[in-house]
């Protein structure tokens, strides 16, 4: 039986159309427990971040890669390949 699969994605023609798109902003508290290269346990936060404002320093290429993922996820759900539960 055939199955649904994404064989190829051609995502092109990226154009910067400005900063005025309405987009809900969120604040949240983040705490990260991590280990440095000496094996020392460290804690970052709790610190308040704002989305998407705090993504401003993210390089464009990285922002683009994440945007690709989000757009593609939306398309996959639209095509019936995935459902949103897989992304939560």
């Amino acid at each position: 039986m055939p199955y649904r699969n994404v064989d190829q994605v051609m995502i092109t023609n990226w154009v910067d159309t400005g900063l005025t798109t309405p987009f809900s902003r969120y604040t949240f508290t983040l705490k990260v427990t991590w280990t440095d290269t000496d094996g020392v346990k460290r804690v970052h936060g709790p610190q308040t971040y704002t989305f998407p404002n705090d993504l401003a320093t993210m390089p464009l290429a990285v922002r683009k890669a994440f945007a690709n993922q989000m757009i593609l996820s939306m398309v996959r759900v639209t095509l019936g390949i995935d459902d949103w539960e897989q992304y939560t």
């Binding site: 699969n5 994404v6 064989d7 190829q8 994605v9 051609m10 995502i11 092109t12 290269t37 000496d38 094996g39 290429a61 690709n68 593609l72």
Partner: protein, 458 residues
């Protein structure tokens, strides 16, 4: 050419010219200094150091470090030869396993396990290094660190028969600050496993990736555009259970064909579809699971008898596989991916003595390890090839690491049991030989099974 030795229990004050006067560290050998054509045998054990390459080899005269996993050149016992960035196997203490302080060329490393560098395990350190061969190595990467980082416009690299455990980073990263064309870098017969990306290029074109198996997050990725017209060629590979298999920056950059894509989130991004690529499941061979028993295991990610890519025409297929096993001469009998399928079964269709024999369904090899000592020993086996068998007749090959193979060819009639026998004195080390039973069948129709029975050693 000078043969040098490194091993546990050595001393960097010794000359390193024999096992009994071996150096203690790889750097001890390197600093001797080594010279073009030198071979450095490194004995089994753990080397907690960062080897800095001080010397270049020359064209046709590489400097070769060999992890002596069989022990035949070193301790006579054998085992893993490990270079680690840790002093306690818990935290890292050094950045890399191998680096260099200037451009180094014609260097070869074979048979090492490397792990726990806080940086890349092998790095060219930003220098223009060329003509390296990295083979038969296992690299276990660290968080956000590349396993192999060729970041100085590297060309003529051959990376083969390696296993990469990749963190959230890259297995192999070819990087150039400005576009580098026609790099002639080759990656073949490798396994890429983990949460990162297998092969990544930034501006480096002319890379060939073939007969490799990718499982994890991403397969092959171009992060920064190549010169228009430059390519990364990908053939005979397995991309299965990945987030994204292939990603270019523009269509035509990655030229893929004769690959299988299965169970991936996305097979290709900005990559054209190869006309001969398929969407077949790899169907890897499982090991036998029975509680309380540890059966001999298959090679990880070896294909099963059900896999439709276990014998399939590819493009410019590698002549051997991840274990260095020779692949069949008939292109269409080669497996895609890193591990060549070998279809050896217990058969009751033919038997020379008793009721069963070993059946090689098609071209392939089956090996047995036989403990030996250095006394005259006779190896014999009966072979039967069916009527439509074609190509070089079946063979029994007596193999011992470090010793030339002894090959016995079936010179008897088709359709009958023929005796293959030879007598030889094995080398004292390693204390075993491999008896390899070979079908070289090239026929594609009719009956061409090969059966072996009554293997005796006396």
């Amino acid at each position: 050419m000078t043969t040098r030795y490194v091993g546990i229990g050595g001393d960097d004050g010794w000359d390193g010219l024999a096992w009994v006067s071996r150096k203690q560290t790889l750097n001890g050998a390197e600093n001797t200094p080594v010279a073009a054509t030198d071979i450095v045998y490194v004995g089994p054990g753990v080397y907690r150091e960062l080897l800095t390459l001080d010397i270049s080899g020359a064209a046709g005269q590489p400097i070769t470090y060999i992890g002596d996993v069989t022990g035949e050149h070193t301790d006579g016992i054998g085992g893993i030869v490990r270079i680690t960035g840790s002093n306690d196997d818990i935290v890292t203490a050094r950045a890399n396993a191998i680096t260099c302080g200037a451009a180094r060329t014609y260097r070869t490393f074979r048979g090492f396990m490397m792990d726990m560098g806080s940086g890349s395990l092998i790095t060219t350190n930003g220098f223009l290094c060329t003509d390296w061969i990295l083979e038969d190595c296992i690299l276990q990467g660290m968080a956000n660190q590349r396993n192999i980082y060729c970041d100085g416009r590297s060309i003529n690299f051959i990376i083969q028969r390696c296993i990469f455990y990749i963190s959230q980073s890259y297995g192999i990263n070819f990087l150039a600050a400005a576009v580098l064309d026609n790099s002639n870098n080759l990656v073949q017969n490798c396994l890429f496993i983990g949460a990162g990306t297998g092969v990544v290029t930034a501006r480096v074109g002319g890379i060939i990736v073939k007969n490799s198996t990718f499982i994890g997050r991403q397969g092959v990725l171009v992060t920064n555009a190549l010169t228009v017209g430059q390519t990364v060629t990908v053939n005979n590979c397995i991309f299965a259970f990945l987030y994204v298999a292939l990603t270019g920056t523009v269509a035509g950059e990655i030229v893929e064909n004769y690959n299988t894509f299965w169970g991936n989130g996305t097979d290709r991004t900005l990559t054209n579809i190869g006309a001969n690529s398929v969407a077949y499941p790899p169907l890897y061979n499982p090991f036998l699971q029975l509680s309380g028993f540890r059966y001999p295991s298959y090679i990880p990610l070896e294909l099963s008898m059900w896999s439709q890519i276990r014998a399939r025409l590819g493009s410019a297929e590698a002549t051997d596989d991840i274990m260095g096993m020779t692949r069949p001469v008939t292109a269409a009998k080669n497996s895609w991916g890193a591990v060549q399928y070998a279809d050896a079964l217990r058969s009751i269709v033919q038997a020379h003595g008793g009721v069963a024999s070993i059946q090689l369904v098609d071209a392939g090899r089956k090996q047995f390890i036989i403990p030996t000592t250095a006394i005259n020993t006779t190896f014999s086996v009966y072979v039967y090839r069916e009527a439509n068998y074609a190509g070089v007749n079946p063979q029994m090959v007596i193999k011992q690491p470090g010793v030339a193979d002894t090959t016995v060819l079936d010179g008897g009639a088709v359709g009958g049991w023929n005796l293959l026998t030879t007598a030889l004195v094995p080398a004292a080390l390693p204390p075993y030989v491999i008896v390899e039973l070979v079908s070289n069948n090239t026929a594609v129709a009719g009956n061409y099974n090969t059966y072996f029975d009554d293997l005796t050693v006396s």
